[in-house]
């Protein structure tokens, strides 16, 4: 399959089931909601080192948020049920609670699994906190120097998908970066999807474990590293001199698939040789995203 001169390889992306929460942060202005969201989602690229993966899903206009102020929707994922509330409590407490003017709301109200995040953070109020039930939902009012921090008592948790991906194999680094930027732009503001890496792009796709260092959980993927083509088994065709990866996490597989379709199409630019994807042979992750099938569906649509 060839799109705009770029080969879509006959392979698939393999993704995992994760736990996801959606956090809606509002502020006096979009700027302050964004400031809190950027801190909250900072250092949250990969569970390998960050214990969670998070990103901005999209910005919300004032009429879309519970308190009618500009907001940001964040998706926050962990590998297991237990660590999601732990990570949320630590991170919301240090980033959103501290940020001027913000309030914090649950964005997965229908999810039956409830995480008592606001209930844990209320104790910052040292006994001066109070709660309010509004429209059947409980909120905590935590007194702070600025005034009051309002946070919903519980946040919904549901199964999500982590590790959707595709690889951009390009003739040179500039072409890889331009294609990656175009792909990220095409996938920005897609509901149910985040791109947890810097600017949405990864340059250091990894393999599991290490050949040399026992304590390393993940090390460089030499098969896709162009500088090692001469001394290690390579997966790169001749003429490919740089590879960038896009990683997608989301609330569900169809959302990720829809975003991948847009992103891959946008990445098919001059200087790109092929689009591939990372997988583990199909045995580890329950979610498979076959690239050609995804792109064929787009041709039909």
């Amino acid at each position: 399959m060839i799109i705009n001169g770029v080969t879509i390889e006959d392979t698939f992306a393999e993704a995992f089931t994760m736990r996801v929460a959606r956090i809606v942060i509002t502020g006096k202005t979009a700027r302050w909601a964004r400031e809190a969201a950027l801190k909250l989602t900072g250092f949250a690229t990969s569970v390998i080192g960050c214990k969670c993966e998070a990103g901005i899903e999209r910005e919300l206009a004032a009429p879309e948020t519970p308190d009618g102020r500009p907001g940001v929707s964040v998706l926050f994922l962990t590998m297991d049920k237990e660590s999601l509330p732990q990570q949320l409590i630590v991170r919301l407490g240090q980033t959103v609670l501290t940020c001027p003017t913000t309030a914090c709301f649950d964005g997965l109200q229908a999810a039956p699994d409830r995480l008592a995040v606001g209930r844990a953070l209320r104790v910052f109020g040292d006994g001066f906190q109070g709660s309010k039930v509004i429209g059947g939902r409980r909120y905590w009012r935590v007194p702070v120097m600025e005034g009051e921090f309002l946070i919903e008592e519980t946040f919904g948790m549901q199964k999500g998908v982590g590790g959707g991906n595709f690889l951009i194999l390009a003739e040179h680094a500039d072409a890889a970066l331009a294609a990656a930027e175009a792909a990220v732009l095409a996938m920005t503001d897609r509901p149910g999807v985040i791109l947890p890496f810097p600017g949405g792009v990864v340059r250091s796709g990894s393999k599991v474990g290490s050949k040399r260092y026992k304590n390393m959980l993940a090390t460089t993927n030499e098969a896709f590293s162009p500088t090692l083509r001469a001394i290690a088994p390579s997966a790169l065709p001749q003429g490919v001199n740089s590879v960038l990866e896009i990683v997608l996490d989301g609330t569900d597989a169809p959302s990720i698939e829809a975003a991948m379709r847009l992103g891959i199409r946008a990445a098919c630019l001059g200087g790109v040789r092929s689009i591939s994807a990372g997988n583990y042979g199909g045995k580890l992750g329950p979610h498979h995203f076959p690239l050609r099938k995804i792109m064929t569906a787009s041709a039909v649509a």
């Binding site: 519970p66 308190d67 009618g68 309030a103 109070g130 309010k132 039930v133 509004i134 429209g135 909120y139 009012r141 005034g147 009051e148 921090f149 309002l150």
Partner: protein, 249 residues
């Protein structure tokens, strides 16, 4: 033929009383005896309207429902009262919503005589004026008065919220432990409430937006985004309650 059909409650129903057959258009066609024979359901069983109400007048499309304690101790569902209601509306209620499109008497959302607690959950929206002691001894829940409220609104509140868009009478919040009284209009505040600060309370914004968007109340922007004076009280009690008085935009 009379101007109005008056239905005065004579026996408080022990269970839920469904009055689906009692509509003004139907009563306009019926004689007094036929009205009393209209089918109602009480606790799911068939009964007659006359079993519970004294019927006066006939063949009139205006119906006046005279009842006290409407929605008392209700735990869920929605009760809509078209017109004025008597005293004790939603007394000791635990859940659900009551909307009164008119005035109410005293003790709306209040407590039964001698009871330590008033309403413990649910919402009462009074699109009119309330009598005295609205939300008295409330433990949880919401009482909203779009008009004026009499004396003792939220008196002895344990928690919960009372919102008055009009004028709030004297002794509001007296003996309050926790809970909030939001006064958009003038309020006679007991001396045992102490000024804390002037700010824009995020929960008031959320609450008033909820009332506007979900309950269809005509809440002005200046109340939603405005500044409020926060008074803590009752300091003769626990003092964790508050009175939030609108202070401008």
């Amino acid at each position: 033929m009379s101007d109005v059909v008056t239905l005065a409650l004579r026996t408080a129903p022990a269970g839920a009383l469904e009055l689906a057959a009692v509509t003004p258009d139907r009563l306009a066609q019926l004689a007094q005896r036929e009205i009393a024979a209209l089918p109602v359901r009480h606790g799911g069983r068939a009964a007659a309207l006359g079993d519970f109400f004294v019927v006066q007048g006939e063949r009139a499309a205006r119906v006046r429902l005279e009842a006290e304690g409407l929605g008392a101790a209700m735990t869920g569902g929605e009760l809509l009262v078209e017109g004025h209601a008597g005293r004790d509306v939603g007394v000791a209620m635990a859940g659900g919503t009551i909307e009164v499109r008119g005035d109410t008497g005293d003790n709306a959302g209040g407590a039964l005589p001698g009871a330590a607690r008033g309403m413990v959950g649910g919402e009462i929206v009074i699109r009119g004026n309330a009598g005295d002691d609205a939300g008295a001894r409330m433990r949880r829940g919401l009482v909203v008065v779009t008009g004026n409220a009499g004396q003792g609104t939220g008196r002895g509140m344990i928690a919960g919220t009372a919102v008055v868009f009009g004028e709030t009478g004297s002794d509001a919040g007296r003996w309050t432990k926790r809970g909030s009284i939001v006064a958009c209009g003038p309020v006679a505040r007991p001396a045992t409430f102490r000024y804390a600060c002037t700010y824009r309370p995020p929960h008031v914004r959320l609450l008033l937006l909820y009332l506007r968007e979900r309950r269809g109340l005509d809440v002005a922007d200046r109340w939603i985004t405005g500044r409020y004076d926060r008074y803590c009280g009752d300091l003769a009690e626990l003092g964790k309650g508050e009175m939030l008085q609108w202070a401008g935009e």
